[in-house]
Subunit: 259 residues, 2 copies
DNA sequence: CGTTTGTTTGACGTTACTCAAATCTCGTGG
DNA sequence: CCACGAGATTTGAGTAACGTCAAACAAACG
């Protein structure tokens, strides 16, 4: 009783402040862990509908999941990102949504047994607040994405993506002087589906931002932000913050704790 | 003690099954009502940020609110609709979002005092479930909207809107034979912001759907759906249901109860 | 080394945007 | 009841941007 389960010992959902499992008592954690299922998903793989039918509630420990929709004419769309720390509840979701989740990077998820999850929410006010806030943040992020999708030019959409994702995916960020480099873990093909444009246009938009002097793209998808303020202007963003990450305080960020 | 407050007696949030206040005990309702604030908002008017600072939690009794975002270049976007039955929680929302809510039709909202709201969630499991489900549905709707926004052609977007909204705004629907008429309460200018296109394009898209024989637009924004299946094809919708409204069971619909 | 998959480039077509003007709608006041 | 005016819708012509298709190129993998 009361010892930290080995599966949770190094799991970000438990170790990171502000994440769901970090506020559970030792007993709660032990019980919830004992009835949960963990899964590592490789990029490109999808969560199966039959599996999600039994496990519709999960937390994302690491990586990025995409919510894919397929049009009748074969065009695909990534309607949302699900990111580390998100508590996802698909109970009551339309069935197409259950078959639409796929890993865009390597993803680790922890499926929470629904009744045990509910029991935790019932008793633990802090956990309830975190789960609620996570749902809120998912909505707020989608509002930002929708606003980005209705932007006119492809380069604006891409500039917005870079500005936003720089904050959300902070582990690989290296800051040196005023230059800043981070790794874009997505294929252009997925980025295209996410931004509502074609892969060729993504490629041309990257070039366009480079020629404007806002960024430089190095190999293996390393993106160097050369002029952050210019990038913000190119994003036509009236609300993205320039220097402080204050805007993103409510989007939980994976920053390196130590180094 | 225990009598229904007059303000709630005819409020849909209380009288409609599945809406938040319908599962409150008489005592809970009376107390929550006594610390709540009601407001009627005229089309075009916005909720003020200072007011939402004090009242960030509210339910929508009637009408449609739009979440507006403004680009740097003056272009506006309606990133989401908030519809009757929605429980909205803007605590922790970025401040731009607080200043971005405006009424697209005549709207009646009921602001719930946050601590009293929390107290209800704490004690009433049914209310907690409804509030949670409402948040979920807001996310699910946004996923559908995002998928629609990334559609290629304007006529597809508009066809999707008609298919979707036909279910969400059921009060004015009149069904006769296979023909179906409903009132579109939005200005084309708002529709344009919602679908990420320009008002001129909305106008041309309506004409395009008419010429295809899918709909007919009558005066005062009455839309007659002539060929529902054709409309679905034009929406390039692989997931919208053709005849049964099963797809929309989880989107709470305002259907006439009596007549 | 060959296969597969993803990215880039170029030429071309289509679509929606832009801008301007005409028309319509509806509320207001004469 | 009609005239007026503000705002919205519609229409048209020209342009800018992205989509489309095809081919070359690069990267990852066995």
């Amino acid at each position: 009783m009361g010892t930290i389960p080995t599966a949770c010992a190094k799991c970000p959902l438990h170790t990171r402040a502000g994440y769901f499992c970090s506020v559970l008592s030792a007993d709660e954690l032990e019980h919830l862990s004992s009835v949960s299922t963990r899964q590592a998903i490789q990029p490109g793989d999808s969560l199966t509908e039959t599996f999600l039918d039994s496990w519709p509630v999960f937390g994302i420990a690491d990586g990025v999941l995409g919510v894919r929709r397929h049009d009748a004419d074969g065009r695909a769309t990534i309607a949302a990102f699900l990111v580390p720390g998100d508590i996802v509840d698909l109970r009551g979701a339309p069935s197409e949504m259950l078959s639409s989740l796929s890993a865009l990077t390597e993803v680790r998820v922890c499926y929470l047994e629904p009744r045990a999850f509910e029991a935790v929410l019932e008793k633990n006010a802090a956990a309830r607040k975190i789960a609620w806030t996570s749902l809120q943040q998912q909505s707020f992020r989608m509002i930002e994405q929708t606003a980005a999708l209705s932007k006119k030019r492809a380069s604006e959409k891409l500039a917005w993506f870079i500005c936003t994702f720089r904050h959300m995916h902070g582990r690989d960020i290296q800051v040196s002087q005023s230059a800043e480099v981070f790794r874009n873990p997505f294929r252009n093909i997925d980025l295209a589906d996410y931004l509502g444009i074609r892969p060729e246009t993504v490629s041309r938009a990257f070039r366009s931002l480079e020629e404007a002097g806002a960024i430089k793209v190095h190999r293996s998808n390393l993106i160097q932000v050369i002029d952050r303020n210019l990038l913000l202007v190119l994003a036509s963003a009236s609300s993205l913050s320039a220097d402080s990450p204050a805007e993103f305080d409510n989007i939980r960020v994976l920053l390196p704790t130590g180094s």
